[in-house]
């Protein structure tokens, strides 16, 4: 069985942003180049769907960001 070298193992904290399935609001805002308040506004208007993880933290699925960029909010 192949083992992954210690320095190549990835955890949510070390996985590169581009490979993640979901992002925090701050990370999603950084990827889009907008203020995180704008992200909350988009969520409130249901332009972006989010999911809540344990403790209620919001996560934005990667697919939602792609969809947003393709549809330009329309």
């Amino acid at each position: 069985m192949e083992t992954i070298p210690e320095n190549e193992k990835t955890t949510p904290a070390t996985t590169p942003l581009a490979e993640r399935l979901a992002y925090s609001i701050q990370e999603a805002a950084d990827l889009l180049g907008i203020h995180y308040y704008t992200m909350y506004r988009l969520i409130q208007r249901q332009k972006i769907k989010t999911c809540r993880v344990l403790r209620g933290k919001l996560l934005v699925p990667r697919t939602e960001l792609v969809k947003l960029l393709q549809t330009d909010l329309r």
Partner: protein, 186 residues
């Protein structure tokens, strides 16, 4: 109630550390609360300014993504302004938001109507909901942060203190706000 209990030394130091870790969010949240309170306090004035600007019709043309053309009247917040257009002889007002995405800037009407005051009230109400969403998310992040940093310790009193302070910032007018908190000194 938990927030009336006396916090331990560890909880006090966790609160100080959390305040530093989330300083940017907390400062920005307070600034946006102040902006909302100012908008709510000056609703009449802003409405009158927008109406006067609409009568002059000298603002730049704002074209939304749907292709509708509006005329800029007054800026409300960063990237958000109140605009107007004449529709069948009647004046119509709208709150228009610009979002500068990597794929290009988008412009969208958030809400519109013929009564500028009502349009502003609806906008303020929606912003309040956005700030509540922000507050809930930040306190959830704090909870996660504290659980990772202080495993096995009950830090709910710390989170509740921040939650209380943020709720107060959102609820109160700037003139009423005082530097007070419950439970842990933050």
């Amino acid at each position: 109630m938990k927030y009336q209990e006396r916090p331990t030394e560890l909880q006090e130091s966790a609160a100080t550390e959390t305040k530093m870790a989330f300083a940017e969010h907390l400062n920005q949240f307070n600034s946006f609360c102040d902006a909302l309170h100012n908008l709510e306090r000056n609703l009449e004035t802003t409405g009158n300014d927008a109406f006067k600007a609409a009568l002059l019709s000298s603002g730049r043309v704002v074209k939304t993504d749907e292709g509708a053309e509006w005329q800029h009247d007054v800026d409300l917040m960063k990237d958000i302004s109140i605009c107007h257009r004449r529709n069948a002889g009647e004046m119509e007002f709208a709150v228009v938001e610009s979002v500068p995405l990597p794929s290009g800037e988008t412009k969208e009407v958030l809400n519109s109507g013929h009564n500028v005051r009502e349009v502003l009230q609806t906008f303020a109400h929606d912003q309040r909901q956005v700030l509540r969403l922000w507050k809930d998310d930040v306190t959830a992040q704090m909870r996660e942060h504290l659980e990772q940093k202080y495993p096995g310790h009950d830090m709910s009193i710390v989170v509740e203190s921040f939650e209380y302070k943020m709720s107060r910032a959102l609820a109160q007018r700037p003139a009423q706000a005082q530097n007070q908190s419950r439970g842990v000194r933050i």
